[in-house]
Symmetry: C2
Subunit: 353 residues, 2 copies
Amino acid sequence: MRAHRDDRPPTIHDVAREAGVSLPTVSRVLTGSTPVSEKRRNQVLDAMKRIGYRPNGAARALVQGRQPIIGVVTPDVTYGSSEMIRAIEREARRAGYVVSVTVVDPYDLTRIDTSLDVLLAQPIAGVVVLDFDRYDLKELTTKLGGVPLSTISSTNDDEQRHIVVDDRLAARTLTEHLLSLGHKTVHHVSFPGPHGRIHPRELGWRDALTAANAPIPVPVQIAAAVEGERLIDAGRSSVEDLLRDPSLTAVFCANDQIAFGVSRTLAQRGFIVPDDVSVVGMDDEIIAEYWTPALTTYRLDFDWAGAAAIRILLQPAGVDGTTVSSTFGIKVRQSTTKPRQGPLPGRTPIGAH
Amino acid sequence: MRAHRDDRPPTIHDVAREAGVSLPTVSRVLTGSTPVSEKRRNQVLDAMKRIGYRPNGAARALVQGRQPIIGVVTPDVTYGSSEMIRAIEREARRAGYVVSVTVVDPYDLTRIDTSLDVLLAQPIAGVVVLDFDRYDLKELTTKLGGVPLSTISSTNDDEQRHIVVDDRLAARTLTEHLLSLGHKTVHHVSFPGPHGRIHPRELGWRDALTAANAPIPVPVQIAAAVEGERLIDAGRSSVEDLLRDPSLTAVFCANDQIAFGVSRTLAQRGFIVPDDVSVVGMDDEIIAEYWTPALTTYRLDFDWAGAAAIRILLQPAGVDGTTVSSTFGIKVRQSTTKPRQGPLPGRTPIGAH
DNA sequence: CTGAAAGCGCTTACAG
DNA sequence: CTGAAAGCGCTTACAG
């Protein structure tokens, strides 16, 4: 009894009438599930083209009981996340899903709500949460209800369907690299971990120093509020604190951005990196190898992590509880070398602006 | 007559039974469209929680005749695109949509097909195509069928619902900046435009030189196949060609990545940027201001462009044919200065590695 | 404020 | 190979 509504796009009903065939026949040429005679097939195809038909994804999803969207919830789109998102998108598309990314600020609780509402109102098959433990876990999972969930973060919390990107091991490896060059200890510029805890990268740094029986300097802390692009500036500011210790010969920075800021500022103050101070970052951003001096850093396998998150998300129940971890390897470049002898040289600014 | 199927998630039908109310009542507490008595409302909410109900987005989309996804088709996720995508996502979410990004290589025709198929099988309200004219326009629009479309690119092609990011004007402004410093001419490292045409950034450079009656050097061309991260390397290689002309005093690079490569390589060859050669890029990537020397570049308003694309996409018909353009402004930093006197100095490598 | 009924656009057994 | 019918999960007038 439905009148032809011009404000709605054409349906298979319209196609069937236009082509002079039945409704299921149209559906069959659409899905290819059942053979259709050459003649009718062409009639249908022509009719579709003529009236500008395109399938209604919602109806299709409904009848097939299939949710075609995979949501990604992420606190930011920095280098690491964007690599993971790319991998997630690739893997999801292979499985026939489409990916929707929602950037959700862990510190802005009210906006978490509205953002997730929009996402959850869609036909979503599941959600991947990046940097999982930066969120209020209880609140987030409650909010997500029964939506299938896979998570990626750098801590091993015995979550279900959780991927660990092993930051801690990577940090330890970088620190050990510096120690093996002969540095008596390694300083650290740290960002805060989730919920006031110590960040896994700091833990890995401590692991290495402890194992080597090296003194553990007080890490320079970057404020929790500093995000993304402003980390370079935070790195710059941290140099002041680092230089308080005249025995400084090596710094492990919590990520490449910070290391960019630190090495740049050291240079501007007249110190030579790496001869006066060795600097390492972490993440291996694209620019790292082009930096001056080319930055020693650690390449985490974000691509693998993203792909794995989709795989475990789409796997049927039973794989729950599995936790996998993934790292890639250290990239030794020009910013690290053996320690200088003696205390820090004079701080004559050369390239300061 | 449908048996209870345990393999399908609970529906409002199950909620209604569990709560002892009718189907529409459940729907009403879901949508909030009509008042529901406090008592029943709570019954329903409790029942939902108990049986782990969550709404089926596909059914909702179907009955409301609403496609909840906006697709973004983009050739890459470099700096400019990612800023636009962020703006698109923000604006779309405000309007209650979710955004799906599909990266589609313009040179890989077969994969264009499968990628778009996945996207178009979803309930999408419309598509925003970035860097529009790098695609085979006819093929792409055919493929997209009747899907509402808005486009962003740097050329003004009289498209419908098209946003022009005015690369040409920006390039002209940068070139004029160099000329105004006293440079007799400006060299150019160029990337290819769409379909073998000249890129708008190159056109803007020519505009400025022509207007100033300056000689027009042959631009150094970067191969069409070079994308994204490898542009730095392409920039590095282009220095060889640039140095063939001993009158070189200033280079306009088609983007920041290229400029990074050019300035780094010039420095390694013993030239001082900007004293020997001024270098400008374009896009104002985050790292540009931290580069050594801090890069003079041009900030395009990608945020505005992305937001505008969503706005015109969602506007009802009638706004077709509008074309808006947007630029932001030049950022003069440390990589440009007045020209040196005389020919290029000797090419003693200093920092070569 | 509440319930019975129709319908959104499509696919899938079910019978030919 | 083809058509008539039922149903996917939800919302929206329609009557109370």
